[in-house]
Amino acid sequence: MTSPLLQIDRLTKRFGGVVAADAITLDIPPGEFHAVIGPNGAGKTTLVSLLAGEVAPQEGTIRFERSDITRLPVYRRSRLGLARSFQISSLFSDFTAIENVALATQAHRGHSFRFWRDARREAALRKPARAALARVGLAARAHVRVDRMSHGEHRQLEIAMALATTPRMLLLDEPMAGMGPEESVQMVATLRQLKGAMTILLIEHDMDAVFALADRITVLVYGRVIASGRPAEIKADAAVRQAYLGEKESSGHE
């Protein structure tokens, strides 16, 4: 058996009296498409923030490729190959699409204490950026300023930027948030294409997408893992049905 790429061990985060992550333990083997679902306030985004390094846990450890990254700053994790996308698009809105992605490429091609050469003319930065844009279907929109793009395009660009860092693992925080049905179909196509090419941890509200894509699913309720397994097992799980799927109808987007 191959050792897991990401090992989360009893990870705990409390905000005041609220336990957002309650001794979460989870192993994700390389190549797996793993989805995390849960009702609003289950601590899904907290989990991404913990893994990305934006918040520090009180207890527990995170191992990536066997090395402990629990206390590593955000940028170091990105360097190791752990890339994330944001639930609320976090882009460089006054840059064009390709400039956004090229910057992500640049972060992983040596240091940037280079003061003279025009970085926009560096093929070594532009070519991979163009490839990443093509992968999410934005090739034709490369030179459009981000603040003039649609919401759906922003979501795709989020993914392209994560891809441009040549990650070993992607953390996707609700890539379909706020999308219309058509845009969602496109995003599912993008994700399906990525499946298998790299390890993916997806957090998502869209149940159809999750069950269509995931190899395994973990269900989070009040920061605690209540079930983890194959899609069919999750569908059949009594605790999940009661805690989550049962109330799906009433819960909207966050």
Binding site: A52, Y75, S78, R79, F86, L103, A104, S112, F115, R121
Partner: protein, 327 residues
């Protein structure tokens, strides 16, 4: 901090001739030919005034690098003018008159000061950053007031301008003017290379969205710090020039209102544009000069003018020049 200043990311300069390019070329031509006018008319006042414009424009270019491109609103930038000036003044008083020593010292001490201030202030943002840069500048201001040997509150007269062997004679006003002109052009060129390099894109990306920069793998702090130090060094050079220009330095050089003036020049000209700081400095100093002839309270008029610029002209004067229909 960045929300209120949002200059568009400037692309590699287009060679197309438009109103803005024409304006800048005309302005540079006038600046380049000013000494000819002085020679013809014997009116040296204009050249003296514009030497000052060129020097302060270097300071504004430096501030624009961190504020316009980097989103770091330093409210203590005049401190570098003072440090650069006092480096020259103190060395001159101690008998070291060579510019080859004075100017590198002015630049190095300014850079060192920027390193200390930056290391402490760049961990904060927004209003806290502004307050810390101001606090440091005030500290230096009072330190200088305490330097009895170097004139304290009264300032220090510099009896001899920096000497550069036989190469450049700063006592010649025309030579000094052209030196300032060349150094200003060099600093604008330096900034133009810098902001389009990898380093520059990191700085601009950080202004736009620092959280994302870290998420894609940039240790943003060290880039901001280096940018802060480069700007400090450049403004220290302006300080050395200023001391030579006036042959006199005093703590007033680094009074906090001088830092405010520099911010005004940059905002007036256009944040995050290459020639904006020069345009802003020309406009500010000419306005100040003109108003001081007609009224005892130039600020009464300068204030409202600025208010209008801040409200209606987001790209400053430079932005007005390149105004186009938005699609």
């Amino acid at each position: 901090m960045t929300a209120s200043f949002d200059p568009p990311l400037e692309h590699a300069p287009a060679s197309r001739l438009n109103g803005r390019t024409a304006f800048i070329v005309a302005m540079l031509a006038i600046l380049a030919l000013l000494p000819v006018y002085t020679t013809l008319t014997g009116d040296s006042f204009v050249m003296t005034l514009f030497s000052r414009v060129l020097i302060l424009a270097i300071g504004a270019v430096s501030l624009n690098l961190i504020m316009g491109y980097g989103g770091m609103v330093s409210f203590g930038h005049a401190a570098y003018l003072g440090i650069g000036g006092y480096a020259v003044g103190i060395l001159a008083k101690e008998g070291i008159g060579s510019g080859f020593v004075q100017w590198p010292v002015a630049i190095a001490v300014s850079a060192l000061y920027a390193l200390v201030v930056g290391a402490l202030s760049l961990r904060t943002r927004g209003v806290y950053f502004i307050m810390i840069t101001l606090a440091f500048a005030q500290m230096i201001y009072y330190v200088v007031i305490g330097l009895e040997r170097y004139g304290g509150d009264d300032g220090l007269t510099i009896y001899q301008r920096s000497r550069f062997g036989g190469f450049i004679d700063l006592n010649n006003k025309t030579v000094f003017y052209y030196l300032c002109f060349v150094l200003l052009m060099a600093s604008i060129y330096l900034v133009s290379r810098l902001v389009n390099s990898r380093f520059g894109l990191v700085i601009r990306g950080t202004r736009s969205n620092e959280r994302r920069m870290r998420a894609i793998g940039f240790p943003t702090f060290r880039y901001k710090l280096v940018c802060f130090v480069i700007a400090g060094a450049l403004c220290g050079l302006a300080g050395a020039l200023l001391a030579n220009h006036t042959s006199f330095i005093s703590p007033a050089l680094m009074h906090w209102t001088r830092s405010g003036d520099l911010i005004v020049m940059v905002v007036l000209g256009g944040l995050g544009s290459l020639f904006g700081p020069l345009i802003g400095t020309v406009a500010f100093l000419l306005l100040e000069e003109a108003l001081s002839r007609v009224t005892e309270y130039p600020d009464m008029i300068l204030g409202p003018v600025l208010l209008l610029v801040a409200i209606y002209l987001h790209g400053g004067i430079e932005g007005l020049l390149q105004w186009r229909r938005h699609d």
